[in-house]
Symmetry: C2
Subunit: 121 residues, 2 copies
């Protein structure tokens, strides 16, 4: 019920901790997360769910198999379930994620970038 | 899959059209909406769902029965299901809403401010 300031919350993620989503709130059985991006993620998809990305700071690209979508501060994109995607950030970037509880950041793709669940800030 | 710029989308809502949420995207069985707020809404609750408010421009207050929460640009609040609340904006304010398909803006409260569903921009 309390206000959550996104930029204040981001201060609780180390500036160099990338691709490790942190839960900042709950919406029914969905979680609201913040994550810092930099560099190239892994190709993956989420077979059972759409995934919302809202760019809070900086900018990144959402790579799809057939095109690349730029996502700048104040822009959002919803990746439909089952659609292969790969976020790429050429500089540091901060993103709000909304997705159901239990979504693994790398989907079914095994990767060193696979992050633990339910880390809260 | 395409980027949606929140401030660009807001241009499609008349500057004096308040309390009329417009759908800008879908996340599984949830909708992402934009709405302009000004003035005082009605007390209501949503018996079956939480509701996310993210302030995109300006600021507003979320009134609860026991306190008032200020929500400024870049801040979000999740109103838990069943909790009575009343948004109040002392000036024009723009908000991103996320909630399941079918949520009526005034809950079970009958009001002139009850908005139609599924108006998309």
């Amino acid at each position: 019920m309390h206000s959550i300031n996104l930029l204040d919350k981001l201060q609780q993620i180390a500036p160099d901790e990338f691709w490790q989503p942190k839960v900042i709130g709950d919406l029914n059985n969905y979680q609201i997360k913040l994550v810092r991006l930099q560099g190239e993620f892994v190709w993956h998809d989420h077979a059972d769910t759409d995934e919302l990305f809202l760019c809070v700071e900086g900018e990144f690209e959402m790579h799809y198999q057939d095109h690349i979508e730029a996502v700048r501060t104040g822009e959002m994109v919803v990746v439909p379930k089952g659609v292969a995607h790969k976020p790429v950030a050429h500089g540091p970037c901060s993103v709000l994620l909304i997705e159901p509880v239990g979504v693994v950041n790398t989907g079914a793709t095994q990767s060193d970038l696979t992050a633990p669940q339910d880390v809260r800030i």
